[in-house]
Amino acid sequence: MTPAVRRPAAGQAPSAGPPAAPRARTGRAIAIAVAVLIAALVTGILAGPAGLSLPTVTAALAVRLPWHPALSVPAVDTAIVWQIRLPRVVLGALVGAMLAGGGAAYQGVFRNPLADPYLLGVAAGGGLGATIVIIAGASPALLPPAAFLGAAAAVAITYVLGAGRRSGPGAGLVLSNTSASIVLAGVAVAALLTAVQTYLQQEHSQTLQAVYSWILGGLSQATWSDDALILPYVAVAGAVLLAHRRLLDVLRVGETEASSLGLDIPRLRLTVVLAATLGTAAAVSVSGLIGFVGIIVPHTVRLTVGPGYRALLPVSMIGGAAFLVLADVVARTAQAPAEVPIGVITALAGAPFFLFVLRSRRARQDLA
């Protein structure tokens, strides 16, 4: 009988596997993601119907910096770069990071691979808020707050419905499947709000085009004030989500075992939902409903860096930023100067890429 225990000799250091390796891998993945993001940002600044050349763009960027050399750039070109392209690219990065990070966090906290940041009704609530403003003919400046409030309210309703206390025979189970209940409540709330919104749209069909173009989403009206508006929300939400990535990893062994390891699951869920909702609602309020980012990016990243949230969350955020910036470039150059709705691009580009990564990974696994 093989003894299962071997005590190390006195004074000998434990020879277990190197704990530093996973951290180095994460660092490498983040570095690669940042490089991709930088390339995407540069592409975003260079692309546009005005046909500005690389030297022009570089000069336009340099001219506004405090230590610039004497350069002559047409004021129009500088304005195009700084007032149109840069805010748009920055907004794309912020929204993309938030959607991808929110999606990854939801997939972790609900342990559901189909979770995306709109899971609990953010999209339906935001769309309804925007529809009401457009129908009422109110000032377009009210669109972002209305969408934000609608999105937040929808999630609040979902959470109350899904996570409400239960009594009765099932109450004996402290860990009843609240996660599933919340998800189901989210589906119901989203369906209800979407139905209300569709009804309102039909009743006021002359605003159909305005509503639809908001819902399809886009970064075409990005201004620096939009960026300033959502930056605090995205920054705080992103920081909170990143701070919880270790706990999301603990949750990978299931709610029961994670509870036995000391994790306060309802509190974790509430925190993650709150942070992701605030950030996503802010993103939705200025960019409409851009789909696919929250599902495609985390899954694609997962196929390359693995399912551990320590790496998945930060790399998803960076990757989501890069993805949306590039999708926006395609959206505004494919049929310039007309713009393809960005949701179409994310779907068209994201799905096949994801399939490609999936197949190449599966092929490697079959050979292993």
Binding site: V5, P169, D249, V253
Partner: protein
Amino acid sequence: MIVFDRVSVRYTAAPALAGVSERVPAGEWLGIIGPNGAGKTTLLRSAAGLVAHEGTIAIDGRPTGQLRRRALAQLVAYVPQLPELPPEMTASEYVLLGRTPHIGYLRMETRADREICAGLLDRMTLAPMAGRPLGTLSGGELQRVVLARALAQQAPVLLLDEPTSALDLGRRVAALELVDELRRELALTVLSVVHDLTLAGQFADRLLLLDGGRVAAAGPPASVLREEVLAGHFGPGLHVLRTAGGELVVTARRKWPASPVVRPPAPGR
């Protein structure tokens, strides 16, 4: 030490546990036995705070109902019957999860945490597999990894729910020997659910026989593993033998004695 005071658990109309009371002195290994549905797993889960219950469970004088999750996890380590093993998680990452109750809410693992886990992996001869994903480990290795995670919690109470169900007899004994050695070394209180009555009797200090959510018998193996006691709960087919070395073996008493194989009739007759 653990004190169960009239613990009752009700999932549906019929109670899963009905007024179980028991004292488990510190450092004791209590084997929980009983027929299916007796409430054995429920008892462990209630001790781990995973099931709402009436009555109190106190560990070292502190009622578990008043403890926060984190504090309870520092007292009680629970190993479920079918632990969820994310196939892509490496063994060292998995064992590191056991340090969760000791890591601050938003903090990361410290060097000390990693060293504790590394030491445990070493101890269980898992050092070569530390960096490998769980999906590539064998059943025996997984059993040891799960145990390592529970031990990483450094909790004085260890709850084991059928920890050896997937192992062959040799590995089964080896695992139980390991638990025994560690509990003596670390002064752990162990509550285990083991279906194999013989092994239960060999390793536990005391046995608790549950049936229908109630305590049917409690005491040292010699007093519980008796045919008249077991017959009332497991049926009449059990046979308890005492070996020359004084160990109790519970075996089945077959209906028919062993007999030569009956030859089938030749064709045509």
